[in-house]
């Protein structure tokens, strides 16, 4: 949050944070340049046709359990941790991360913390060539959303965790996150934070219109052109699927197509204004979106600045996902990374983290500790979902690679490209 304060048009820090996290952010300028570069010249390069055949992208390694390198943990007391921006506690004065400092004090392991994941797709594009070639990515711990974590496991790009290094994690992982179908016993991954997907609205922009369900978003003519959905396929599709009475944990191709058709109708009649990444927060707080599908963690932060923003959990339920810590192949400090995972499953650091970043804490028993730091956060169901709320949460089932391609294809068609 306390980042460089260039805010030409009253972007709130939350929005700026969201923009930075948003998929098009940091990369925009550079990719534009590379696009330019690609379109600048002529097709002269085709001259070297022979060279073309020599190229090609190697197949993913199929070794289940991943490829380990020699573990240098004992000698090199460091761990290279790549995470998303604004996703960890920060001391306002020193700009340091108190939890990581505490970890270093206790274990003597320094955490080299880098905020270099802005977008799952982009980050995958960045590390995929190295992983495919069987090289070290220079990272010991990365945080990726469910579906990408699933893909990484499927492709054999990550290492199996050693349970003996993870006693707290094993004991304290909350039930809600114990058995995703893509990593049933949490053999490869542990959640960093949970993400709830809900419906958010701007009271002022709604002006008395009632929004309780995804159907209201899609059908109420008074909301025409003022509804936002997410470019994150699993959230947009999942919420709509729940609304249609289907289960995102087990659905068929036909169910998927039915959801696409329902959304397509809304797109065609101009009901849906835009599909957005994290940048929906600015649309919502300005009132350009009267209501939208949103991530609860953002809403908690937005509410601090814009009192008009509220949220509703539809009767049909809501989607949950997680961002997961994974150890890529060939990481040099696997044991250190595992100790860091385990550290964040101790209730005190977990509470400190939850109090700062407002996402769903995956650590059971964190509540009393969080209450000590911030009473209202401990009572906020968006940060610590109670049993009743947990019962309404749904996860999107994992997809085969074929399904993933086909579904993404259809979903991008829906969003215009």
């Amino acid at each position: 949050m306390r980042m460089e304060q260039y805010e030409p048009d009253r972007l709130t820090p939350v929005e700026v944070a969201a923009i930075r996290r948003s998929l098009r952010s940091g990369r925009a300028a550079m990719t534009r340049r590379s696009l330019l570069r690609a379109s600048a010249g002529g097709a002269l390069a085709v001259g070297g046709l022979g060279a073309l055949s020599a190229c090609g992208i190697p197949a993913a390694t199929k070794t289940q359990g991943g490829v380990s390198a020699d573990d240098h943990s004992a000698k090199e007391r460091v761990v290279n941790f790549s995470n998303w921006p604004e996703y960890i506690d920060v001391d306002d004065k020193t700009k340091r991360h108190p939890t990581l400092d505490a970890f270093a004090r206790r274990t003597g392991i320094q955490v080299k913390y880098t905020e270099d994941i802005n977008d799952n797709d982009e980050f995958f594009g960045k590390i995929q060539p190295q992983l495919a070639a069987g090289q070290d990515t220079g990272r010991d711990l990365v945080v990726l959303t469910d579906w990408l974590a699933a893909r990484m496991i499927r492709l054999g790009y990550v290492q199996k965790l050693d349970p003996s290094n993870l006693p707290h994690a094993f004991a304290n992982l909350s039930d809600q996150f114990r058995a995703p179908d893509w990593d049933p016993g949490r053999a490869y991954s542990y959640p960093w934070q949970g993400i709830s997907t809900v419906i958010a609205y701007n009271k002022k922009a709604l002006d008395g219109i009632e929004v309780k369900s995804v159907s209201d978003l899609l059908d109420n003519p008074k909301l025409k052109g003022r509804v936002g959905f997410l470019t994150e396929m699993r959230d947009s599709i999942g919420m709509t699927m729940l609304d249609m009475g289907k289960d995102p944990a087990k659905f068929t191709d036909d169910d998927f197509d039915a959801v696409i058709a329902r959304l397509q109708k809304a797109v065609d009649k101009g009901q849906i204004r835009r599909f957005t990444g994290n940048d929906y927060t600015s649309d919502l707080s300005k009132g350009d979106f009267a209501a939208c599908i949103a991530w609860a963690g953002d809403i908690v932060q937005l509410q601090a600045d814009s009192p008009d923003v509220g949220y509703v959990i539809p009767d049909s339920g809501y989607m949950t996902s997680t961002d997961n810590m994974l150890i890529p192949n060939r990481a040099r400090h696997k044991t250190n990374a595992e100790r860091l995972i385990d550290f964040f499953y101790e209730p005190e650091p977990a509470a400190e983290l939850a109090a700062y970043i407002n996402y769903v804490s995956p650590v059971a028993g964190v509540k009393p500790y969080l209450a000590k730091i911030d009473k209202s956060a401990a009572d906020n169901p968006l940060i610590l979902p109670d049993k009743a709320m947990q019962a309404r949460s749904h996860a999107f089932r994992s997809l085969t690679q074929k399904e993933e391609t086909a579904y993404q294809q259809k979903f991008s068609k829906l969003t215009g490209a």
Binding site: G41, D121, L155, G225, K286
Partner: protein
């Protein structure tokens, strides 16, 4: 091209003196050595990526099985037939933005070149100033300016301007954001300096005495402009339009942030194919089609504009 021919041309023959041979011999390779960094740069950052992309575009496969070159040229046709509307849209939007840039940029460049006097430097700084901010932040600023409840939209609404643009299909309902108009405006804003700077350089070089001469020959100001100023500024017009049109056609940020589902440009499609669907061949093929299309349009344009110099 010029540099190459110059480099290949033999060094000027010294009139006499075989004793000058050693320095000449060393001198012969100097141009090549000087060219080396540039050529290496071109190879590494232009030629190799192009070859790699060209190869990708004729491959088939998946992430799990790997991609192999199968000379599957059908990808090009499939990609084009699937996404031609986005191609067309990109061309229209980029052309629209280029025309707007020219209409806005020419008077401003003219003003800076001939009328600004001591304000010239200040205005130039103002033209370039937006570059000090990130492209993204600049574009997002427009979301605040054009917000549904913002003053701009209120004024446009009360003047019934939006009724006209709605009728033209440029906007939808009582809003500007998330419509084609917003995307074209965003493109215009973001690429305006690329139009103004070459125009200014061209105009600034025009000899003021030519204007006086035209006046002496009884040309009215408008005639002077039409017969003298504008033709002499053509190199600036051509390079300005190119510098605006080419990047605008490939841009995806404006459409992403200011547009909606029906304003997606080809840049958005390429980005989605590459990063989300992971269909690298289609993405590469689309990039090549875009490149070829722009190259063709630019070639025709330069031929017809009848100017050889760019700036």
């Amino acid at each position: 091209m010029t540099t190459l021919t110059e480099a290949e041309a033999p060094p000027p023959l010294a009139p006499t003196a075989p004793e000058q041979k050693p320095p000449r011999k060393r001198g012969r390779f100097t141009p090549y050595w000087l060219l080396l960094p540039g050529i290496l740069w071109l190879i590494v950052f232009f030629a190799l990526p192009m070859i790699y992309q060209a190869s990708t575009s004729v491959q088939q496969g998946s992430l799990e099985q790997g991609y192999k070159v199968t000379w599957h040229f059908a990808t090009y046709w499939d990609a084009f037939s699937e996404y031609w509307p986005q191609f067309l849209r990109s061309v229209f939007y980029a052309a629209g933005a280029t025309v707007l840039c020219l209409l806005l940029g020419y008077p401003l460049a003219y003003l800076i070149a001939f009328r600004a006097g001591r304000w010239r430097n200040l205005i130039m700084v103002l033209v370039i100033a937006p570059f000090f901010t990130s492209f993204l932040i600049r574009t997002l600023a427009w979301k605040t300016i054009l917000a549904d409840n913002g003053p701009v939209v209120h004024v446009l609404n009360s003047l019934h301007v939006l009724d006209v643009t709605n009728w033209l299909g440029w906007t939808a309902g009582d809003r500007v954001l998330a419509t084609p108009l917003a995307v074209v405006c965003g493109l215009t804003y973001n690429f305006l300096p690329f139009m103004i700077l070459p125009l200014y350089t061209s105009l600034e070089r025009i000899d003021g005495r030519l204007h006086e001469a035209a006046g002496d020959l009884y040309a009215r100001p408008w005639t002077t402009f039409r017969k003298v100023t504008f033709p002499l500024s053509m190199p600036g017009v051509v390079s300005g339009t190119l510098l605006t049109f080419i990047p605008a056609a490939g841009d995806y940020v404006n459409s992403e942030l200011l547009g909606s589902t029906d304003t997606r440009m080809i840049g958005n499609v390429i980005q989605t194919q590459f990063l989300r669907i992971l269909d690298y061949p289609t993405a590469a093929a689309l990039s090549f089609i875009l490149m070829a299309a722009i190259l063709a349009m630019v070639t025709i344009y330069i031929r017809r504009s009848g100017t050889e110099d760019l700036v």
